[in-house]
């Protein structure tokens, strides 16, 4: 039997077993709609920029729109804190009802049997309809699956985009943003050496570079994308060993090492790349669309901020998807889990995801929302075209390896990438050391 046939049979089986249409007649298996009032806790890390006011606005809307479920938001400030506290709370047997989680985290929680199986809620009377499920962008919904089963629902998803100062490009004689990494290098050199004079292009202290390389997890993710764009892979087929110490891996990081060594790229840390772009110290950078509200704040009225597609590699153009999903924990009562699902359903509804996207820059998770935003936002709001770039890029987005240990591996890989960029190790030595650490983690979990 060919795999297409197996998949088709599996799909039929799912539908036959009450595959989740609230419009279909309820089968004996179908969970009724939630009846008992519950209070749920949602842990998140949407702390900066416009993120916290927007998620608070959504929670208020949800709480006032119905009386069955009351959601209490708990701001855990940032992702590392959210992860540490969730892991600790699982160990203590007191996790929240639901939380934001990356797929790797979800895998980690699932191995501890801490995740709730939300299939029954998806299929419940007040669950998702088939139309709802089809409306989600497929790569995003698939990112929430573990072993083929939907454990999490996409919420704040983003992809990388190229941010650039259009005025600096124009003054330096660059008609358009770079389309591939070769052009990126050429343009960065031009921007670094050009003598800018206008207020929109000249930094306060007169210093400038073409672009930035920051010791920040985003640059590790970007390198992962470049590896794939240059024809490489991150892990082997059965996900038991790394495969990034290849010519594609070396070529991708050596590009950054050369840019830093020649003074074309400013080597910074954390989110200083966003500050550098805002203060006209660099002409362009690649970062996630999730940072749009931060970059915008940094730029202010300084110049015309633009976004473009991430440059293509030698083999393809692709970007790694970032951002988290919503997961529900099994420790909660079935009614609380059901309530958490209804909150997730609201959070990812067309109206909510549209509002979330417009305010924060994250991508809408539903196609209908993106379609709607074409008329309501992308073409009418000054930030619309910039935010739309991410959605345009979505068909080429892919997810990182959905492995529990990949997060830890990424930290180790970043350290070695920085060693290479700083000239402390050769590309082959650095990647070999990174591969060794990541392989150990993959083997010993």
């Amino acid at each position: 039997m060919r795999w297409q046939e197996i998949a088709a049979l599996a799909a039929l089986l799912v539908i036959a077993c009450g595959g989740g249409s609230s419009t279909t007649t309820s089968s004996a298996e179908q969970l009724p709609a939630l009846k008992n009032p519950v209070t749920i806790t949602f842990w998140h890390a949407m702390h900066g920029g416009s993120q916290k006011p927007t998620i608070t606005q959504l929670a208020d809307q949800f709480n006032s729109s119905q009386s069955l479920v009351k959601v209490n938001l708990v701001d855990q400030v940032d992702y590392p804190t959210l992860l540490s506290k969730t892991v600790a709370s699982i160990a203590a047997g007191q996790p929240p009802t639901a939380a934001q989680c990356y797929t790797g985290w979800a895998d980690q929680y699932n191995k501890k049997k801490a995740l709730a199986d939300i299939t029954q809620f998806i299929n419940a009377k007040d669950g998702f309809s088939q139309g709802d499920l089809k409306d989600f962008f497929a790569p995003m919904l698939n990112d929430g699956k573990l072993n083929g089963k939907q454990y999490t629902i996409p919420f704040n998803k983003s992809v990388y985009v190229l941010y650039y100062n259009e005025e600096m490009f124009k003054e330096a004689g660059l008609p358009a943003p770079p389309k591939n990494w070769d052009e990126f290098v050429t343009d960065a050199k031009k921007l670094a050496t050009y003598n800018f004079t206008s207020p929109q292009t000249r930094s306060q202290d007169g210093k400038h570079w073409g672009t930035d390389f920051s010791q920040n997890q985003s640059y590790e993710n970007l390198w992962e994308s470049q590896v794939v764009e240059n024809g490489g892979t991150l892990v082997n087929g059965d996900k038991t060993k790394t495969a990034f110490n290849s010519s594609a891996g070396r070529q991708s990081i050596q590009m950054w090492a050369d840019l830093v060594k020649s003074g074309v790229a400013h080597r910074v840390s954390g989110f200083d790349d966003e500050a550098d772009l805002g203060s006209k110290h660099i002409g362009m950078m690649v970062n996630t669309i999730a940072g749009y509200s931060f970059v915008k704040k940094s730029v202010g009225d300084g110049f015309m901020l633009k976004t473009a597609l991430v440059p293509a590699g030698t083999k393809s153009q692709g970007v790694e998807m970032a951002g988290t999903n919503v997961c529900t924990f099994s420790k909660a009562t079935p009614d609380e889990q059901h309530g958490a699902f209804l909150w997730t359903k609201f959070l990812t509804s067309k109206q909510s995801t549209e509002l979330w996207s417009e305010k924060t820059g994250y991508m809408p998770v539903r196609q209908s929302a993106a379609q709607d935003m074409k008329t309501t936002f992308y073409n009418s709001n000054p930030d619309g075209p910039n935010i739309q770039t991410a959605v345009t890029q979505l068909p080429r987005a892919f997810s990182g390896p959905p492995l529990a240990v990949w997060d830890e591996s990424m930290s180790d890989i970043l350290i070695e990438l920085v060693n290479i960029v700083d000239g402390k190790k050769s590309d082959s030595q650095g990647l070999s050391d990174a591969a060794k650490k990541a392989d150990d983690l993959l083997a010993n979990g």
Partner: protein
């Protein structure tokens, strides 16, 4: 000063001056950056002269509830320091002056605990607090850290230096251990106790990881967690972050400078060197 003396002292002072620059430079850099123009880039080489933008402090102050963080921290640090002093004095005295079975072994175990990093005990401690429903509270930031190995060790070393005659004389007057400790031992132990208090006050002020894990909202968060929360909210403005860092560092820096003499004196009184 003779030429020979100058030759002898010169390299020492040069070395000390270098060490001084090395230690003071990060603080100076932070101070300069906090007074820079809003769009100054953060990077190398560092800018050595500020633009005197005092508005940065006003902007940073408005961004998060610093007042609340300061009050929380003062309360937590004071309670924590009191608790550590109490446990250090009692345990230090017991290890120095009392005889009980297995004393050496218990003391070795206590010292052994000093080698266990905080990260190892993070999750077990969190689990205990969760069972006690103490998460997101002040006591969660005070009680679990209320016994300090360093404090116990320092107080023990001090009590070991007290002449045995004092205890024997007190015994003749019918004084028990607790009364002796309160009326005679403790007043004599003031220099060491002040050192223990100062060390732990500074530690409480700088405490980050544990409060980060056990707190969930601003009503109980201390200043370092507040600073991290501010950093997450305003990541694109290094000058504001530096202004926030100056605000959180300054009180404890002043306290340290004022109490430096007591700190050194206290350690010297215990007979511990370098």
């Amino acid at each position: 000063m003779t030429a020979r003396r100058a030759l002898e002292l010169g390299p020492r002072y040069l070395l000390l001056a270098l060490a001084l620059v090395l230690f003071l430079f990060p603080i100076y850099w932070m101070a300069v950056l906090s007074l820079d123009a809003p769009q100054t880039p953060f990077g190398l080489p560092p800018k050595l002269w500020p633009d005197w933008e005092f508005n940065n402090f006003a902007s940073a102050w408005k961004a998060v509830p610093w007042g609340r963080y300061f009050l929380n921290t003062v309360f937590i640090a004071a309670m924590y320091t009191l608790l550590v002093c109490a446990t250090s004095v009692l345990a230090g005295y017991a290890f120095a002056s009392m005889s009980f079975p297995g004393k050496a072994l218990i003391f070795a175990c206590v010292l052994g605990m000093y080698m266990v990093p905080q990260e190892v005990t993070l999750v077990p401690n969190y689990v205990i607090l969760a069972k006690l429903t103490w998460l997101n509270s002040f006591q969660a930031q005070i009680v679990p850290l209320g016994a300090s190995i360093f404090g116990i060790f320092l107080m023990r070393q001090f009590f070991l230096t007290l002449p045995k005659d004092l205890w024997e004389a007190a015994q003749l007057d019918g004084v028990g251990h607790l009364r002796f400790l309160l009326l005679i031992g403790l007043p004599l132990a003031r220099p060491a106790l002040v050192t223990v208090a100062l060390f732990h006050l500074v530690a409480a002020w700088n405490s980050f990881l544990w409060p980060l894990i056990v707190t969930s909202d601003d009503s109980v968060r201390p200043i370092q967690v507040g600073l991290s929360s501010f950093a997450a909210a305003d990541s694109t403005q290094p000058v504001l972050l530096a202004a926030g860092a100056v605000m959180t560092t300054l009180p404890i820096l002043v306290l340290f400078l004022v109490a430096q003499k007591q700190l050194v004196g206290g350690i010297a009184a215990t007979g511990i060197r370098g």
